[in-house]
Symmetry: D5
Subunit: 118 residues, 10 copies
């Protein structure tokens, strides 16, 4: 988990008796390549079925901005964001899909899922 995860704020889910889905698309994600120091750009898609808590959108934005000048690999980012959000929200189910812009003529998309154990 990252330190910036404390920036995540939540609010109470008022419909806990129902499984429903929230999808948040963030096309302005940027971080820095740990090898070259060059910025990477991508689109993050966060989908989840809330438990007791929903993520507050503005705090999510600030949390994602904390990666702006940090050097971190694609595969790492995606898993760290999943861990942070699962830690903050305890969702019934969550999926993170991170689609990074082409580098060297190649595009990479990483997707990770979490299902709450019952």
């Amino acid at each position: 988990m990252s330190e910036s995860k404390d920036q995540l704020e939540t609010f109470a889910n008022q419909f806990t008796d129902r499984d429903y889905q929230i999808e948040i698309v963030c096309p302005e994600f940027t971080s820095v390549c740990p090898r070259t120091g060059q910025p990477d750009f991508g689109t993050l898609t966060i989908t989840y079925t809330p438990g007791e808590l929903c993520v507050e959108l503005k705090s999510l934005k600030f949390y994602l901005q904390s990666f702006r000048n940090e050097g971190i690999f694609y595969e790492h980012i995606t898993n760290v964001i999943l861990d942070d959000l699962v830690g903050a929200l305890s969702p019934r189910w969550m999926k993170i899909e991170a689609a990074f812009n082409a580098r060297g003529g190649m595009t990479e998309t990483v997707s990770v899922q979490h299902t709450a154990s019952t």
Copy 2:
């Protein structure tokens, strides 16, 4: 359930012996953010398998317009509209998908389903 749900009118489904699907797309949904007072815009997609009743389209339009100047959260709206329509129609199955326009560079889509208990 909202008060404006009384605006919903219905007509008899003439083909109750068959399960079939009706999808209504409303790309002109607008409400107001309860925090900032700013208008939100989105596309509502209502899909259902009718039971004894179908929703009358014009009354649905007036019902949805009742949210025009009301401050309400994305997650809340979607669940309230489901509750109102389920209350008015008793459908065999219904799904509401609400795709809201980008705010702060991020887009949110909420989807909720209802299945009639047998």
Copy 3:
């Protein structure tokens, strides 16, 4: 069933030992709204697995044109066309999807299926 269903002509399916699928898309369907008297426009998609008979395309076109000046509801049209085609063709399986153009800023699509009982 509608009276114009007699316009439907068929020809023998030469490959009855196989289940295969025929899809016919008719983007020029038009009828009249029974309430307002205004014309409605939509796209009909007919998909079926033929039994002993296939529908002849030109006769299908004439059959669909018979709705041109008739006042009939969306939900009704779709079910009536299914009944007419099932009556004329006795298909193993058939689906009608009728996607109507936006009225009052809202779009409606109705889909109905039929499976032959064995």
Copy 4:
């Protein structure tokens, strides 16, 4: 000119020695039809070459929201917004294009231009 035009704020153009172009697209414009009382939706595109002043984006947003519950014709809106913005900014050149969503199966787009007299 409309009363809400006083909501428009401006800031000094720092590059007055050059003719350059600013285009602002507002896909969330909504007003009310003066005849039917029903909401209309459309996309406003404002293009201009600034003189001494540029329009401040947030104030433009509030200004456009002032039409939200007002009954006014398409042709009228477009000309009124041009008059208001020309009054507030004295641009060298300005164009307003207002593309309204389909009503009764028909779409209308109104475009107006203003060129400063020299």
Copy 5:
């Protein structure tokens, strides 16, 4: 000119001191082929700079519906509609573009313009 041209209603243009443009797109135009008796479908785009009068949208819709069951050639329709609208509106400039759906694998688009003599 057609007889149904009397259905066209107008309202006063409040901005006669400016040349501005109104574009109306009607994707639901239908008439009948005079040779085969089969319906034709197409999209009409009407663009004009109003003089003293603007066309009222609902009346335009009814006027265009008057061609629904009339047998008339593509080239003829387009010129007749131009003549009718020029007769009713005396616009400073007007263009009609009629794009008809494919028949026999070929698509035809007819465009005609009128400029007021000064």
Copy 6:
């Protein structure tokens, strides 16, 4: 000019006092490569301002089908069709654009214009 040009039929243009434009798109053109004997496929776009005559669509279709099994180069076809149509119609202006499908990973489009001398 080709021999099959006699298949072209015309009808009288009823609006000779106006310059207007007719565009015909034929996405199903096919001929044979004179070198390899392999079929070529492409989309022909014919645009013209009629003089006294318009081309009859069905006869145009039959005329274009006469190239179906004939070996002829892209550049040649386009010029021959222009010559044939100019010969049959004496248009005020005409343009033929022939966009052929990719061969060897490369796509070729040939366009030719004719303007009547006055």
Copy 7:
């Protein structure tokens, strides 16, 4: 099966221990309507899991060209091509989808599958 099926050439599949899929899209298929004598155009999609043999692409092209001047119904073509290819390749699984261009404003797509019996 058609006579031209002898034109189909094959080569040995070097990876018979694996089930994998080959999809071939042929957007330039043309035949002749047996009723009207008019050419039909469409896109053929052939998908299969090879057994011992793969189809050689150039021979497939020549085979498909053999339908160029032959009068045959949509439903018939699709089944005949499946029979010919199954006869030549003995695939583990094969699907033919034939999507024909619009005629009379309607589009037809026929799809047939074959699974090897074990």
Copy 8:
């Protein structure tokens, strides 16, 4: 397996306790047709669930470039690349999809999967 497979470098997967998916799209793949000596072009999509190892993107790029001047069939390439990547990475699951550009008016896509035996 190809000799150039030694160019593939890997790095340790830090999240081995989770099944997650990595998709890499390479739209700039080129090799040479073994029959004609002409270059072929296509898009490779590599999708996998990593085991202990992830593929390093730059080395993957160099590995794929090793096919640039090599004569090899479509079906062969796809299977060879799967074998090479499975050999280097021992993924839990992997799929290669190779979509080649049109030749002779026809497009071929080959897809192969591997699942680790447990």
Copy 9:
């Protein structure tokens, strides 16, 4: 002009006897809003006719990255980048178009041109 302009490197244009055009699209531009401190994102399109010098692409990338954490207005950025590039390259003609992502539901594009005086 900005301080980071010294990062721009150039190379000699070998075809100075010809006016030709170079267009560079940078969809990954990001800076910071001077008011809110929030990151902005946009696409920069630089088009120019070189004089004696062309811009080296990698140095351009580093130069544009220097705005990553700097607070600056849209209108300002676009003009500053034009000044910097004109200063470094002395092009015969240059245009900068900066299309910024939606904020508050509105999108802004700024375009500036420079022509060398002769």
Copy 10:
């Protein structure tokens, strides 16, 4: 001019009394970056009005393939190909547009024109 320009073959233009246009799109162009040794990919569009000669398509393909393993800058390639084709064809007018795929998140397009002096 390049040495490989001798590979270009021509054939006589049979319609020299007319100015007409030939456009050839080659989406499979590839060369090598002289700095990094890495392959570059792009789409070449050649447009010209022939004089006495047209370029033979297959020889153009072989000529363009001669750049496959050659290290050359974007700006250089585009000008060299123009020089080679102008040398071989003496066209009345010619334009080369070379759109190269993204590298480092940036896309470059170079366009050069030639007009015959009279």
